[in-house]
């Protein structure tokens, strides 16, 4: 036997207890606290806090932003991953590191970049004002900031997958007479579907939960440019804890749903890969 002996009963119990205790303290307890605090004054108060017009507006805006940012990043992400994984070109390494930029830069900086570009004092500010287009402190700015922050999720997920799959399948389809679009729809897309779904889930979770970048460009106009995370902060600063935690509980719920879906997708993904025999 070369493997180390398993730790004795006592040590093993201690390790497991430590891990569970840590998880409970830092993950489970806060989650429970969110729901407990939200329901502290009963279900009626909880429902009222969510049905309140400003809260509904924040939910609506969050869904709208995600509905715009996620599809954009699906298109950009697939295009970038396709280019990087399947072709060799000059500047490929630079493009690859640029994709990671949103992960390496603070979201606040990301927001400030857009203020700098599109704000009243920004580079395009005068032109935008002359044409009566508002980007900063309005929905377009929030969408832009969200797109920036969530850009890497889909691309990051697809690049290693598409590189590993190589170009053979696409070349086989082309040699059989398929057009470029047919090849994409019938060969490439099915090959990456689970990885893509996984990336989309993560992208969506971040798009709905993003605070920093959105906070800078939003202007915090209640009922107009407040997303859910911003709305939670405002309510909390007003000591309106039940309402704050009620809205926060929706975000927590989103996280839980994302986690469950993610586990299902991961399981399918592994299954498919394992089954392919590579």
């Amino acid at each position: 036997m070369t493997s180390r002996p398993a730790p004795g009963g006592g040590a093993r119990f201690a390790l497991i207890a430590l891990a569970i205790g840590f998880l409970a303290l830092f993950l489970l307890l806060p989650l429970v606290a969110v729901f407990a605090e939200a329901l502290a004054k009963g279900f009626g108060a909880y429902a009222a806090a969510i049905a309140e017009p400003d809260a509904l507006a924040a939910i609506r805006l969050t869904l709208l932003v995600a509905a715009m940012a996620v599809p954009l990043n699906i298109v950009f992400g697939i295009a970038a991953a396709w280019a990087i994984a399947k072709f060799d070109f000059r500047g490929k390494a630079i493009l690859t590191s640029f994709i990671d930029l949103p992960f390496s830069v603070s979201p606040v900086v990301a927001g400030l970049i857009y203020v700098l570009l599109f704000g009243a004092q920004g580079w395009f500010g005068p032109w935008l004002r002359a044409h009566d287009i508002q980007i900063i402190f309005a929905v377009p700015g929030i969408v832009l900031a969200t797109v920036f922050v969530t850009f890497p999720f889909v691309a990051r997920e697809l690049i290693p997958l598409m590189s590993e799959q190589g170009r053979d399948d696409e070349e086989a389809a082309l040699s059989l007479g398929a057009s470029g679009f047919q090849t994409f729809r019938r060969v490439t897309l099915p090959n990456i579907r689970w990885g893509l779904l996984y990336g989309v889930l993560l992208c969506n979770a971040r798009a709905m939960g993003e605070f920093g970048a959105v906070s800078v460009v939003s202007g915090h106009l209640r009922g107009q440019t407040n997303t859910m995370p911003l709305h939670v902060e405002i309510l909390y600063n007003e000591y309106n804890f039940v309402a704050a935690f009620a809205v926060a509980s929706l975000l927590a719920l989103l996280a839980l749903v994302t986690l469950i879906l993610k586990s299902i997708v991961e399981w399918r993904f592994d299954h498919q890969r394992g089954g392919a025999g590579h």
């Binding site: 086989a172 040699s175 007479g177 398929a178 498919q272």
Partner: protein, 349 residues
């Protein structure tokens, strides 16, 4: 007939092909044989239209197809790693080429299905159409890939290391089967391989390539019996080589004459190559080469004898009929080289 004129291709600074000229006859089974980096796969991919040359022309039956994309060339391409569509059943894989045709040219669904079944029967996989590629063995997958390529009725079949990913036993069976299939269908086919045994067994003609150029083209027999360059002699079949000097039409190893016909070679330094079976044993006398036996083992009906010739650091391998008793290790054997080829080298022996 497929014709290739002056084909050149670089990948960055690396010259993959350096001015290739080649003719492929109708109905022939042609092997592109060479070590990795010899340009054989690049040549195959350019003929397919998966890669485009920097210079030169590709013609199918006199028609210039150099600029045509793979989809417009009517070629079947079989990949080393099968490249089957893993999310489709075997039958859907085979039917793919027909099902992506434009509306006017696409056969009705029932006809496509019937054609796929027919092709699966042809590759001896009838009844497995409902399976997925992951549920098949390597040899079965490669036959599906072949059926899929044949479904579009190509005028040319191209196979890139078709047996490369298979284990030895399956490879041998599939090889024999593919040769029979080719004999039956008569479809012009080109396959790439680095395995000389595979090329010699399967092909009507073999194209030996090295470093982006063609070294020799010929029947397997001609290539094996008459290698025209030192590279072909080394690469195809087993061969021994001795550094010799030619003076007065005779080869000399360290001033000792070797008694073998050279067909009028010019004087100078050279390399004398001979196959292990092109020798006979004789007494150690004038004209016979002394060989110190260092190893003996049985290979079929012969003894494979490994030995050393004084002053040469390469092991010499020869075949001795097993009708004799096995030579003892440490003894000396006299060799007469019955047939050899001389390649001139610049170096001094």
């Amino acid at each position: 007939m497929i014709t290739v004129h002056g084909l050149s291709k670089r990948f960055g600074a690396f010259p993959a092909l350096k001015g290739i000229d080649l003719e492929v006859r109708d109905g022939e089974f042609l092997a592109l044989l060479g070590p990795s980096g010899s340009g054989k796969t690049t040549l195959l991919r350019i003929i397919a239209g998966l890669e485009f040359p920097d210079a030169g022309r590709v013609e199918f039956n006199g028609e210039d197809v150099t600029g045509l994309k793979v989809a417009d060339r009517k070629v079947g391409f079989v990949f080393q790693h099968y490249a089957l569509f893993r999310h489709m059943t075997v039958a859907d894989n085979v039917a793919f080429g027909l099902s992506v045709r434009r509306r006017g040219q696409r056969p009705p669904k029932a006809q496509i299905r019937a054609r796929a079944e027919e092709l699966l029967d042809l590759v001896q996989l009838g009844g497995l159409g409902h399976r997925y590629p992951a549920q098949l063995s390597g040899g079965q997958r490669q036959r599906v890939a072949l059926a899929r390529a044949l479904a579009v009725e190509p005028q040319l079949l191209l196979l890139d290391e078709p047996f490369g990913a298979l284990d030895a036993k399956v490879r041998k069976d599939l090889r024999r089967w593919l040769r029979q299939l080719h004999a039956r269908m008569g479809l012009t086919s080109i396959f790439v391989t680095h395995d000389q045994e595979e090329a010699l067994e399967l092909a009507d003609r073999v194209v030996v390539m090295d470093r982006g150029a063609i070294e020799q083209v010929g029947t397997p027999e001609a290539i094996y019996m008459g290698p025209e360059s030192a590279f072909v002699s080394d690469f195809v079949g087993e061969s021994n080589s001795l550094p010799v000097t030619v003076t007065g039409g005779r080869a000399h190893l360290f001033d000792r004459p070797i008694d073998v016909a050279l067909n009028g070679a010019a004087d100078g330094a050279g390399r004398l190559d001979f196959r292990p079976h092109d020798v006979s044993v004789c007494d150690e006398q004038a004209g016979c080469l002394p060989l110190l036996v260092t190893g003996v083992y049985r290979r079929g009906g012969e003894w494979r004898v490994e030995g050393e010739v004084a002053g040469i650091d390469r092991t010499i391998e020869i075949d001795v009929s097993a009708a004799h008793s096995a030579p003892e290790i440490g003894t000396r054997l006299g060799l007469r080289i019955e047939r050899a080829r001389l390649f001139q080298t610049g170096e001094q022996p």
